[in-house]
Assembly symmetry: C2
Homo-oligomer: 487 residues x 2
C-alpha cells in the first residue's frame, strides 16, 4: 500500500569488518550476495520499494569512500528500480544520529509531512504481509508524532543485542497483526539471565535498527535536546538548504565533523517521550558475524557446511566458504575457514565475534587486503586483478553484452588489451576498431579510449597496464553511460 | 675422500602425497626448498658428490613423468655440478628393488667393481665428518661383499619407522666413529613398548633407506633369490645392455612391468646373509609429514610457527605456512594451515600423517590441484599461471639475465607477449626483434619463436595464450640450451 509521504533511508556507511575477508573496506558487507539471490543492500531496497511512490524516495546514506562502489553495484543489477534510488553522502562519518538527521532534513525540504523509514543495509529480514502491515501501522503512528521502531520477537537469549520493552498497547494504530505499543525502556546488551527472562516474558523485543518517524519530528527532537545534540538539527537543515554542488564543500565537511558522534538511539529514541514499538515475529538476522555463513548451504551428516571447491575428510561442525580456490580440510572441529582470491581466515566458531581484532592487526601491518577486493563489480561487468606489482597490473575485464566502459583516459598508464572471448569495439583516439578473439590493441598513455562489447556474448579481455602508477583513481572520464564522475 | 669405484643412485620417483598442497604430482617433495638453502634433492646430490669422481657417477632414478621436472629444476640451479648428474628412468614404477637393480646393472656395465650408494632424494641429513666416515667405512665393507646400511641412532620411540638391530661388530672396516656391525634383524614398525626398548637399549637403529653395496652383489643376491625376484636381475641386466635409444621401447616397458613390485629391503636386505649396519648419530629427518614445517621458522612465545604474509590473534601451537597469499588465524590451537597459490589445507597437527587421504579424495574429485603446481621452475627462470580457462591461459614468465627459452613452436595456440620489466630479444619466424617495457609482440600458431633476456636485469613478460588447447605439452622444440626433448 503506497504512502505518498513515505520516504526511506538505508544506512550503508559501514564496512562490515566482522565479515573480513569476504567484506573489505571498499567492498562492504551490504554488497555480499551469498544470502539469497541478491545482495543485502538490494534486498533492503526491495523491502521498502513497494511502499513508496518512486525509487527516488529511497536514499542510500553512505560516505564518499563507498559511494562509487555502492552505486556501481546497484546500477549493475538488472532491476532498473535499483538504478533510481538517490544517495545522501555523509560529509564525514559521525554515527547514526547525524546521518539519519541529514536524511530527515533532506526529506523535510521536499515534503514537510515526510515520514521516513530507517533501514540497515546489511541485514536479512522476512518481508511478507506482516512486514507491510508493520510499516503501514508504524507510518500511521509516526503521522501522530510517534517515533516508531519495529521490534523483532527474540528467538534466543542473545546477549549481544539491544532490547526494547513493549508496554501499553496503542490499539488505534494496529494494522492486522502489527500492533504498536508504547516503549517502556531500551535495554542495551543484557546479561544472560536477563536475556532469558526477556525471551520467556514475551514483552521484550530485539532492536533491529528499523525506525519509522516523521522527518520533521526527528529534527525537532534533536533541536530540543539541548547541548551538542541540538546542533545536529541545525547543521543538517543548513546543509539540506544548500544547492547540491555546495554540499561537498570544505565548510560543510567542517561543520558536520564538529557534530557529536552519537547513535540515533542515544540522541533521540531513548530521550523522547513519544516512542512506540511494533512487536513482530519476523525472521531477522543482523548477519553480524561469519557464523551467518552457516545458512548458505545444507549441513552434511557431520554438521559441516561447505561452499566452494574442495574436499573434507573427517571434520565435524565446520564451515568452509571459498570463493574461487580449492580448500581441503582434514579432521577439524567447529572451525570456520573463509578463503578468498587473495586472503584466507581460519578461526573457531566461538571466536566469530572477534574478527575485528584480526582486521585491526592487518591494518596495523599495512595489509592492502583489508581495503581492496580482488574482484570489483562495475555497471558494465567486472574486473579481476590477476597480478599487481610495481609498474604493472594484469586484469581480466568481463564486459556484459551491449555494455561499454566510460570514454576515458589515463594519465599514468598505457594499456594492452588481448581479447580472449567475444568481440570488442574499441575507441582509440579518433579511430574505432573491432577486436576479435586472439587479437590485441594498445592504448598509449593519455589516449582517449573506450571498450565496448558489441556482441551478444560476454566479452573477456586481458588488460596489461604498464606505467609509473597503476592505481584505480588514475581515470579521467569524458562520457559515461552511468554518469559516473570525472574521476 | 674420493673413491674411484663409488657411484650413487638417488631415488626420486616419489610424488610426496603427504606434503600436499606444497608438493604436487608434477612438483614432488624432493623439489621443496624451504628446508635449508637448497631443495631436498640438491641437498641429496651435494651429500654424495664430494665422494665420487665426477657428478656423472651420480644417477637420479626417477620415472618418465617426473624426469623433465627434476632435470629442469637441477639445471636451473647455479651449481654446475647439479647439471651433470645422470638420469635413470624406471620404465614403469615397480618399487625400490627393480629401480635400484636397474641402477646397479647400469653401473656394473661401466665398472665391474662399482660400489653404489643408495640415497633417498627427499630426506634431511647432516653431512659432516661422521657422514663421510660412514660412507668410507661402508664402501670398505661393501668391497668385501657386505650389503651395508647406514642406521640412524633413534632419538625418540617412533613407531612409524623400520629398525635395524646392530649385532656383532666388524672392526676391520671401522673409520673414525663409523663402526660397522653385522645386522641381527630388521624390525618393521614396532609397537610403542618395543620402540621404547629399542631407544633405551641402544642396539637398534632407524632404517633411513641409505645403502652402500657392490652393484654386482645386488644383482647376484636378486638372481640367487629364486622365483619372481630372480627375474629382476636378469631383466635389468638386459635393459642395461641395450643402446640408450632402445631403453624406452615398448618391450622394455612390458618386461619391467612384469617384474614384482617389491622393496629392496624385502628382496635383498632381509634375505641376505651378509648384511652390515653402521650406527650413526646423524641428525636425520624423512620430512615425512607437514609437521616438518615446524622447523622452518622460529616459534613465537605461544608456540606458533609462521611463514608468509599474515597475522595471528590468540592462537597457540599452530603452524601457518603460506607461499604467497595472506593468511590470518584467530584463536586456533595446534592446527596446521598450508596455503599455496591455488589451494589451502587445514588440519590438526595430530592428523599430519593422514594427508594422503585428502589427496585421494581430491583425485577422486578430479581436482587438477593434486597434479599441477601453479608456479613451475624452468632452467631459464620460471612461469606462473595467473589464469587458465577454456581457450586461453595467462602466464607471467620470468627469464633470468642472459637466459633464453628453447626455439619452439606450438601447434594449437598463439601467444601475445607484453614486456613489463627488462628487455626481450624475440625470434619470430625469420625476424629477430627487441621488445622493451610496455611493448608487445604476437606469435601466431605454428610460428617458430624464441624468447631471450638480452639484458642484465630479470625479464618479465605477460603471456596471453589463446587456442583450442593450452596444455604444457603443446611444444615442439627445435633447439634448446638444455637439450630438452622435442616435446
Amino acid at each position: 500500500m503506497i504512502n505518498e509521504h513515505l520516504f526511506a533511508t538505508i544506512l550503508a556507511g559501514g564496512s562490515g569488518q566482522r565479515f573480513w575477508p569476504l567484506s573489505r573496506e571498499l567492498s562492504p558487507k551490504q554488497l555480499l550476495s551469498m544470502f539469497g539471490t541478491e545482495s543485502l543492500i538490494a534486498q533492503a531496497i526491495h523491502r521498502i520499494a513497494p511502499l513508496v511512490v518512486h525509487p527516488s524516495s529511497i536514499a542510500i546514506t553512505t560516505n564518499e569512500r563507498l559511494f562509487d562502489e555502492l552505486r556501481n553495484h546497484l546500477i549493475a543489477q538488472p532491476d532498473e528500480g535499483l538504478h533510481h534510488v538517490r544517495y545522501i553522502i555523509e560529509p564525514v562519518p559521525r554515527n547514526t544520529a547525524p546521518a539519519i538527521a541529514l536524511a530527515a532534513a533532506t526529506f523535510v525540504a521536499e515534503d514537510e509531512d515526510a515520514i521516513m523509514v530507517v533501514l540497515p543495509s546489511d541485514h536479512l529480514l522476512e518481508n511478507g504481509e506482516l512486514w507491510v502491515d508493520c510499516i503501514t501501522a508504524a507510518a500511521a503512528a509516526a503521522a501522530d508524532d510517534y517515533l516508531v521502531t519495529i521490534g523483532i520477537r527474540p528467538t534466543r537469549p542473545e546477549t549481544g543485542y539491544g532490547y526494547i520493552h513493549a508496554a501499553d498497547p496503542l490499539p488505534d494504530y494496529a494494522v492486522g497483526d502489527a500492533r504498536p505499543h508504547v516503549v517502556g525502556e531500551f535495554v542495551e546488551k543484557p546479561d544472560r539471565e536477563r536475556a532469558e527472562q526477556f525471551v520467556s516474558g514475551g514483552e521484550h523485543l530485539w532492536n533491529a535498527g528499523i525506525f519509522v518517524m516523521k522527518a520533521s519530528r526527528v529534527l525537532q527532537e534533536l533541536e530540543s535536546a539541548g547541548g551538542e545534540i541540538s546542533r545536529i538539527g541545525e547543521v543538517v537543515r543548513w546543509i539540506a538548504s544548500l544547492p547540491a554542488d555546495e554540499r561537498s564543500s570544505e565548510r560543510v565537511r567542517d561543520e558536520f565533523a564538529s557534530l557529536p558522534s552519537v547513535s540515533i538511539d542515544t540522541a533521540v529514541m531513548e530521550r523522547s517521550r513519544r516512542v512506540a514499538v511494533i512487536p513482530a515475529s519476523l525472521r531477522w538476522s543482523d548477519v553480524g558475524s561469519l557464523m551467518a555463513l552457516e545458512s548458505v548451504a545444507e549441513q552434511d551428516a557431520a554438521g559441516n557446511v561447505r561452499c566452494g571447491r574442495g574436499v573434507d575428510v573427517d571434520s565435524t561442525g565446520t564451515i568452509v566458504y571459498s570463493t574461487d580456490r580449492l580448500v581441503a580440510t582434514l579432521g577439524v572441529q567447529d572451525l570456520i575457514v573463509v578463503d578468498t582470491a587473495d586472503a584466507t581466515l581460519v578461526l573457531p566458531k566461538e571466536r566469530a565475534q572477534d574478527v575485528r581484532a584480526v582486521v585491526e592487526a592487518l591494518k596495523a601491518a599495512g595489509a592492502r587486503e583489508v581495503v581492496e577486493p580482488k574482484v570489483s563489480l562495475r555497471p558494465w561487468g567486472s574486473w579481476t586483478s590477476l597480478l599487481k606489482s610495481d609498474g604493472y597490473q594484469i586484469k581480466l575485464l568481463e564486459v556484459k553484452p551491449r555494455a561499454r566502459l566510460s570514454l576515458q583516459l589515463h594519465e599514468h598508464r598505457s594499456e594492452h588489451w588481448v581479447v580472449v572471448a567475444g568481440t570488442a569495439l574499441v575507441t582509440r583516439g579518433e579511430e574505432c576498431v573491432s577486436v576479435g578473439v586472439n587479437e590485441s590493441t594498445y592504448i598509449p598513455v593519455g589516449t582517449v579510449h573506450r571498450l565496448e562489447n558489441s556482441g551478444t556474448e560476454p566479452l573477456r579481455v586481458i588488460e596489461v597496464q604498464v606505467g609509473d602508477y597503476v592505481g584505480e583513481d588514475d581515470i579521467v572520464r569524458m562520457e559515461d553511460d552511468w554518469e559516473r564522475g570525472e574521476r
